[in-house]
């Protein structure tokens, strides 16, 4: 059922990225580590598929990027949230919460 999971992911990956980036400038590798770590390895997708998503969000002006040195002195691309991105995140989170509340309600009461 790999197909189903990836379909599920596509809808939510954007939101997860925005959420992770919202914490402050962060590079791609760190984002993927963070998502895996927080989700307890639920999302098993090729790590590379994160990058098209990042570029897409950047293209939409929800993220902006900047090249700068990491703590180890290497140059990396750091992403951070724009104002537009923050608004988008807020609305997506709101939407998601509504959805999960509704689903949870149905699951609890439909028996």
């Amino acid at each position: 059922m790999a197909q189903e999971k990836s379909e599920f992911l596509k809808g939510t990956l954007d939101m997860l990225i925005l959420k992770v980036v919202a914490a402050g400038p962060i590079h791609g590798y760190a984002i993927s580590q963070r998502i895996q770590q927080v989700s307890k390895d639920f999302f098993q997708v090729p790590q590379g598929s994160l990058y098209p998503a990042l570029h897409r969000l950047e293209e939409r002006d929800w993220l902006e990027a900047e090249w700068r040195d990491t703590a180890t002195g290497r140059e990396a691309k750091f992403y951070k949230l724009t104002r537009k991105g923050r608004t988008q995140l807020e609305s997506e989170v709101l939407h998601w919460e509504k959805l999960t509340d509704a689903v949870a309600l149905i699951l609890r009461t439909a028996e």
Partner: protein
């Protein structure tokens, strides 16, 4: 300006993308090394976890708009490659699409131009014509009116906004040897305002031109200006000598102005004195009115009836015993009802053609989709996203639709040109311009292109349903996919075959009818005969003696010319036989009226047409010069009115001659000869009793000449024209041409046109049915590739496979054939009136059509059947 910078710094961006992804892999590798994994293994794991670097790079690039163009170009290149690999499919699909679009647009354009939009006149929906109907005979008595009647009708302005009239007139344009006869019309004041068409050059006739004493002017038709005067703009303002009057050309009318079919229009005010030209001395005007909005044609006719009743007392000869006025919408009279019905049938068939064309394209696309299911499943498994696949299919569909559309536009254009070229004169209004209808073309294009996109995307829908494994497993087997569609596809093929049979059958009936028509024995020889109408100035040619003073020297001169065998005067052209008259035969008493046709001709008429003389003799030159009342009759006359008794020396009376303006006081004629029957009411009608009398007995009626030449008659036209001019410079030839051409124009042109149209439809139907059978059979065999492979592997011979496929095709063909033949036989009743000399259930046509269709249909099945046998059993089985 970020986008601009990005566009100019593509190399930099590319480097950054690379380093961003590499950074990730390095970080990942380092974290594995930190966990104590050896560097080589750590890197392997990192790369594995990352996935295909190139693929993600590509996906990243795709998110950047500045790369979209490259992506589109790449998709199109790929699509082009795919289509090139399957050329047969591409050609058939493009052709089917183009045929549907082209054929439907062409035919519908013609129907639309001829039927729905024939006129460029102002508010042409409210234009009506007036007719006098004979209630006893249930037909039109006349559609032309006396000037008094017109003036009285014109006063009914509660019914009509306005009303105009035109009087046809032969106009001799005197210009020495280049004298021309033009077809003119006198028009009443307000005519050009009535039609509301702006002139092409100069001006139209203005109110002042109609005043008594105004300088004589005229305007010319665009077509005459182009064809007869070399489109010379300097002619404007020049003076022309027309029927002895000097008139100034003041304007060239717009190309689509052709009122009355005239070549020039001359003003005619109500005060001008009457000129008597028609042979019985009266002027009959064509009348057109613009009916007031809200007034029905019945209402108008009822009011006009009252006026007509009054006039019937004044002009009893011009009215039948029981009559009523009829007001007909302009559009109704333009296209003869028979032709009109044919056009309606055609336009219905057009819609069907487009639908069938689209169904064929859909079938082809589905067939292709099936054979490519595996390709898409593989590509999907290799990581192509659904979006990718859809985009590629879109590119393919676009290419097909584009090529099909372009070719379709070309077909439509060529079709319209062809139809306009073969359309005979007089079948449609001369104002009609046959041109491509843009709206219809767009509609057909949209329908066709939508079909391509809809069915072109079918494989992606299947791939995106996510049944990847199933697709991979199933492809090539006979059981997967949408089996439900098979029924619909088969129905389409059966319908196509049935339609095609009907069209082919109709076409073959037309062919047989046309051949029969051309084989009708005329009874006269039309080859090597030059004919022309000779309208003589009526003021100088009133009596038979005056006519003879013109014709006798002319005929003598012509006969003495090298290359001319005989020259004769005649009052009508064969195979149409003359003036209708009541006849009486001496010594025969009968209660019912006897009718016959008579011709006024010179002594050479019978030899010119080589009609065999059976008894007695034809008249001599002296008898003609003396206007002796002698007659030659045809066999039918002899048989019907003399009833086997000898007729030579008996007398017959032609009552009509008594009523001519130049009347024959005692129209009894002595029969001096009997000649063989020749067609005298056209080819299809039975032969009527006919009488020939010397043309000198009266000065009335229309005259013309017939000249038998030894060589090409058309080449003699100039010589004859010169001799006519030398005899009397005020006479010019009208409609000169060969008798064969005349026969062709009035007898064969319409059936040939019907033949052309139906033939075109039948060819189209045959092509569509062939493509339809082919595409469905190709689809079916493609689905069964695996099965065939298996059968061959198990020892089936190629022959068996072919037989299986053909058997399946044959079932569809036979069903379509039976339905088609039954409906053909039912429908052929409708076209009986268009046929001649052939039964609507002609067995030869039936058998021929069935054989042709089976042959072509099986051929269409055979191609995919052959391909099925060429399947290598190993390949087919490996599909597992």
């Amino acid at each position: 300006m970020r986008w601009l910078r990005r566009f100019t710094q593509r190399a930099l961006l590319e480097k950054r993308l690379e380093s961003e992804l590499q950074f990730h892999i390095e970080q990942s590798t380092e974290s594995y090394i930190a966990q104590g994994i050896p560097p080589a293994e750590a890197r392997r794991r990192a790369v594995l976890e990352f996935g295909g670097v190139e693929r993600f790079k590509e996906e990243c690039r795709e998110t950047h708009w500045e790369n979209q163009w490259d992506i589109v170009v790449r998709d199109f290149r790929f699509a082009l490659g795919c289509l090139r690999k399957d050329r047969r499919f591409a050609f058939v699909a493009i052709f089917a699409l183009a045929l549907g679009i082209g054929a439907s647009t062409a035919i519908f354009s013609v129907v639309d131009n001829a039927l729905f939009e024939p006129f460029a006149y102002k508010d042409s929906r409210h234009l009506v014509t007036l007719h006098l109907r004979d209630l006893d005979q249930a037909n039109d008595w006349r559609g032309l009116f006396l000037y008094d009647e017109f003036q009285e009708f014109q006063k009914q302005n509660d019914l009509f906004d306005s009303m105009v009239a035109n009087l046809p007139e032969d106009v001799v344009y005197s210009a020495g040897e280049n004298s021309l006869l033009l077809f003119g019309n006198y028009v009443t004041p307000g005519t050009f305002e009535f039609y509301g068409v702006a002139p092409y050059l100069g001006r139209s006739l203005a109110p002042a031109d109609y005043e008594a004493g105004a300088p004589p002017v005229f305007v010319m038709r665009y077509k005459a200006w182009i064809n007869k005067f070399g489109a010379d703009p300097s002619l404007l303002g020049k003076t022309f000598r027309l029927n002895g009057v000097s008139r100034t050309l003041v304007g060239i009318e717009a190309p689509r102005f052709a009122w009355g079919g005239a070549e020039l229009w001359m003003p005619r005010g109500p005060k001008e004195p009457k000129i008597i030209r028609s042979f019985d001395g009266r002027q009959y005007w064509g009348v057109v009115a613009r009916i007031r909005p809200g007034v029905s044609t019945q209402q108008a006719a009822a009011s006009l009836n009252i006026i007509a009743q009054r006039f019937s007392k004044i002009y009893p000869k011009d009215y039948p015993a029981h009559f009523s006025m009829e007001v007909a919408s302009f559009a109704h009279i333009v296209v003869p009802p028979r032709f009109r019905r044919a056009l309606y049938v055609f336009s219905a068939a057009v819609g069907l053609l487009l639908l069938i064309g689209c169904a064929n394209v859909a079938n082809l696309l589905l067939a292709r989709a099936t054979t490519r299911e595996r390709e898409f499943a593989v590509r999907s498994a290799l990581g192509a996203s659904r979006f990718h696949l859809i985009r590629q299919l879109l590119a393919e569909s676009f290419l097909l639709a584009f090529a099909g559309g372009i070719l379709g536009i070309f077909f439509a254009w060529a079709g319209v040109k062809t139809i306009a070229a073969v359309l005979p004169d007089f079948t449609i209004a001369s104002e009609t311009v046959i041109e491509m209808n843009g709206a219809v073309l767009v509609f057909a294009l949209v329908v066709g292109i939508c079909t391509v996109f809809l069915f072109g995307l079918a494989p992606s829908l299947k791939a995106s349903r996510g049944n990847l494994e199933e697709s991979l497993r199933d492809t090539g087997k006979g059981l997967s996919g949408v089996q439900g569609g098979a029924g619909a596809r088969n129905i389409v093929v059966v319908a196509e075959v049935a339609l095609c049979v009907t069209l082919l059958f109709t076409a073959s009936l037309f062919v047989r009818s046309f051949v029969a028509l051309q084989r009708v024995p005329l009874g006269l020889h039309t080859d090597h005969v030059l004919t022309a109408r000779l309208p003589l100035p009526p003021e100088r040619y009133k009596t038979g003696a005056q006519l003879n003073a013109f014709f006798r020297p002319l005929l003598t001169r012509l006969k003495s010319m090298p290359g001319i065998a005989y020259a004769a005067e005649s009052s009508t052209l064969p195979p149409y036989g003359g003036i209708r008259s009541e006849v009486q035969v001496s010594g025969q008493s009968h209660t019912e009226k006897w009718y016959g046709l008579f011709q006024l001709c010179s002594e050479d008429y019978i030899p010119v047409l080589r009609i065999p003389v059976l008894e007695g003799r034809t008249f001599t030159e002296t008898e003609v010069n003396d206007a002796r009342q002698v007659a030659v009759i045809n066999q039918t006359f002899q048989r019907r009115y003399f009833d086997k008794k000898p007729s030579i020396g008996e007398k017959i009376r032609l009552n009509e001659l008594k009523d001519f303006p130049d009347a024959v006081k005692d129209p009894w004629f002595e029969v001096i000869g009997v000649v063989a029957d020749a067609r005298n009411r056209g080819l299809q009608e039975p032969i009527d009793p006919e009488v020939w009398v010397p043309y000198t007995v009266t000065g009335s009626a229309m005259r013309g000449i017939l000249v038998r030449t030894t060589n090409d008659p058309a080449a003699m036209a100039k010589t004859v024209a010169r001799e006519i001019w030398a005899t009397d410079p005020s006479v010019a030839m009208a409609e000169p041409g060969t008798l064969d051409h005349f026969l062709d124009l009035f007898t064969f042109a319409q059936p040939r046109f019907a033949l052309w149209i139906v033939g075109m439809f039948a060819c189209m139907g045959l092509l569509l049915a062939t493509i339809g059978v082919y595409s469905v059979m190709a689809y079916n065999t493609a689905r069964r590739t695996h099965e065939f492979g298996l059968r061959v592997a198990l020892g089936a011979a190629a022959r068996d496979v072919v037989k299986m496929v053909l058997g399946q095709g044959l079932r569809l063909l036979t069903l379509g054939l039976v339905i088609g033949l039954v409906s053909s036989l039912a429908l052929s009743r409708l076209i009986t009136s268009e046929l001649w000399g052939v039964s609507p259930h002609d067995p030869l046509a039936l058998v021929g059509v069935a054989a042709l269709l089976l042959l072509i249909g099986l051929l269409a099945c055979w191609v995919p059947a052959r391909r099925a046998t060429r399947v290598d059993p190993m390949t087919a089985l490996r599909y597992e």
